[in-house]
């Protein structure tokens, strides 16, 4: 009897969370799908009409859409490359015995705790600005022309800013994983005459593979939706050179007031994210069993 009582109590306790998340998941998403089939502009209220899949064909044939897909992938892959390679290097470095390890750790983690708008504006103005930025001063110091990062290489600049924010995340997780590596194993490999490189490739890297996968998947989820960094630095420009899918949908909805088109874009973003999420969920699901 007690278990039966417990079980119904348990169900009652889980219910609020499940219902809330269910509502959060289904209601807006269903509305987005519905809107995506309408010709619906906020500037022309009362003119909504069924439009079939025309919003999708509009979106999928818009050159800005392909630029946005390319930019989205470039941001995801660029940041992943920098943070994973840099994160492994930093984790290996921080794992060595040194003086003041705790303080160095704190310094390295810091960028992850900075709100995106602050990070982006500090980089944009105080570092990348072609007149007053520190980079311009350094360039002049060594006799080079100052470079207007955000005007000439907007996408690369955004990748640098976002990578700076996510490098600590990769480092922290890889360092945690590294510290769970058995010291004796490393010593045994060393005794057997394995050099630093072969120890790295045959012992450390395989040990880290799980953590690396987790880093890649979780970062991908967030990087697909980079928004604030673009909004405050380039506003998607020049033109659409630094517009990713998230920013394109935002611009369509809140700047063009095209509810139908933006919704179609949103659904495409959901489909893209689901492909990534599928792999991430399988990965986390496995750890639940372990």
């Amino acid at each position: 009897m007690a278990t039966l009582h417990t079980r119904s109590a348990a169900r009652l306790m889980i219910a609020p969370s499940v219902l809330l998340l269910l509502a959060w998941m289904i209601v807006p998403l269903a509305m987005t799908i519905y809107f995506s089939l309408l010709r619906y502009n906020l500037l022309m209220p009362g003119m909504e009409e069924f439009a079939g899949l025309s919003n999708y064909t509009y979106f999928l044939t818009d050159p800005a859409f392909f630029q946005a897909i390319f930019n989205t992938l470039a941001i995801v892959l660029g940041v992943l490359f920098i943070t994973v390679v840099g994160g492994i290097a930093l984790a290996l470095l921080l794992d060595q015995p040194m003086f003041g390890q705790g303080i160095v750790r704190i310094l390295v983690i810091a960028p992850f705790l900075i709100m995106p708008t602050v990070a982006a504006l500090v980089w944009k103005n105080m570092f990348m600005n072609p007149v007053n930025g520190l980079f311009a001063w350094v360039a002049k110091l060594v006799g080079l022309q100052p470079y207007d990062f955000l005007a000439n290489a907007p996408l690369v600049s955004i990748i640098i800013i976002v990578a700076w924010q996510w490098l600590p995340f990769a480092t922290l997780i890889l360092l945690t994983a590294l510290q769970s590596l058995d010291e004796e194993q490393k010593e045994a490999a060393q005794m057997d005459g394995a050099g630093a490189w072969s120890r790295f490739f045959y012992l450390v890297l395989p040990h880290l593979s799980r953590a690396i996968t987790v880093v890649i998947l979780i970062q991908t989820i967030f990087l697909l939706s980079v928004f604030a960094e673009i909004l405050v630095t380039t506003n998607g420009g020049p033109g659409t050179q630094s517009t990713n899918l998230t920013f394109l949908v935002y611009a369509q909805a809140l700047l063009q007031f095209d509810v139908g088109g933006a919704s179609a874009g949103g659904i495409i973003a959901v489909i893209l994210a689901n492909i990534v999420a599928f792999f991430l969920m399988r990965m986390i699901g496995k750890t639940l069993e372990a």
């Binding site: 079980r7 889980i14 809330l20 470095l93 003041g100 992850f112 997780i173 945690t176 604030a228």
Partner: protein
């Protein structure tokens, strides 16, 4: 001999690691220093690292010109409000799933997590319209609701992984001694769960404080938390580096301190327990 070599190696590693650490931290340090300069000094060439006339004028000006404190309080209310509300909803759920698991518990957990994978733009349009039609646009209440919902899966997951580590026998013993369910939760579970709950609280305040999609899109002048307030510096008039730095320093300092205290929990919470 061997000891000698290792000390030298340690020194080299120390120098390299500190250099890298300071380089990575430098933008934050530079922001902090610039916040104490005058606007003219902030863009002076060559820039000065430490030897300038330190002034706190920017901090006063940011407050008097744009009512900084209001936005700061918006951030506090929204991040603490959404985290506490999330905890109230999540604690019973996580408890139930950790101590009375059924065949479906794992699926429910995975499903909850999957809601986190939905890109926010997928629901931006309906959320914006619903908020506009119900008057929730640009209100703290609206932001609390949205942030509670987006962080709820992480809160439940973190609590679940912590609760799982509490030995079930202790709860059974309490039950045998005749403790009712509510007593069991209040007197037995809660004290043991406090560390886990505190870690969850900390991480979620950090996440909510820095959240910059919904806060930017669903707030304007009135309820704008610091993320949105700082964003207003993207199209400034006149010299503003020192003021931007002062506003930024105040916006990031509390979270930097919180975050440094919760490094371990950060890893655990952000990887949903996949890396501990």
């Amino acid at each position: 001999m061997a000891r000698n070599v290792s000390t030298r190696r340690k020194l080299v590693v120390t120098v390299v690691a500190w250099t890298v650490g300071i380089l990575i931290f430098f933008p934050i340090l530079w922001t902090f220093l610039t916040s104490f300069k005058t606007e003219a000094q902030a863009i002076a060439s060559p820039p000065s690292l430490l030897f300038f006339d330190w002034t706190t004028e920017n901090y006063h000006e940011v407050q008097s010109r744009s009512d900084y404190f209001k936005h700061f309080m918006n951030s506090v209310v929204v991040s603490f409000g959404s985290t506490l509300l999330g905890l109230v909803i999540a604690i019973p759920s996580a408890w139930a799933m950790a101590f009375a698991p059924t065949k479906r518990t794992k699926d429910v957990l995975m499903w909850m997590l999957s809601t986190k994978m939905m890109p926010p733009v997928g629901v931006l349009v309906p959320m914006y319209l619903m908020f506009r039609n119900t008057g929730l646009l640009d209100t703290r209440t609206g932001l609390v609701i949205v942030l509670t919902l987006i962080n709820l899966p992480i809160i439940i997951w973190m609590l679940y992984t912590y609760f799982k580590e509490i030995p079930g026998e202790i709860l059974e013993a309490a039950r045998m001694d005749g403790a009712s369910l509510s007593k069991e939760i209040i007197y037995v579970l809660t004290p043991m769960a406090i560390p886990g709950i505190a870690s969850t609280l900390l991480l979620n305040i950090i996440l909510a404080w820095n959240e910059a999609f919904w806060t930017l899109n669903l707030s304007a002048a009135k309820a704008a938390p610091l993320t949105a307030f700082i964003a207003s510096y993207s199209s400034p008039e006149g010299l503003f580096y020192a003021k931007l730095s002062a506003a930024s320093t105040m916006a990031i300092a509390p979270i930097l301190i919180l975050g440094w205290f919760s490094q371990k929990q950060l890893v655990r919470g952000l990887t949903f327990g996949a890396v501990k």
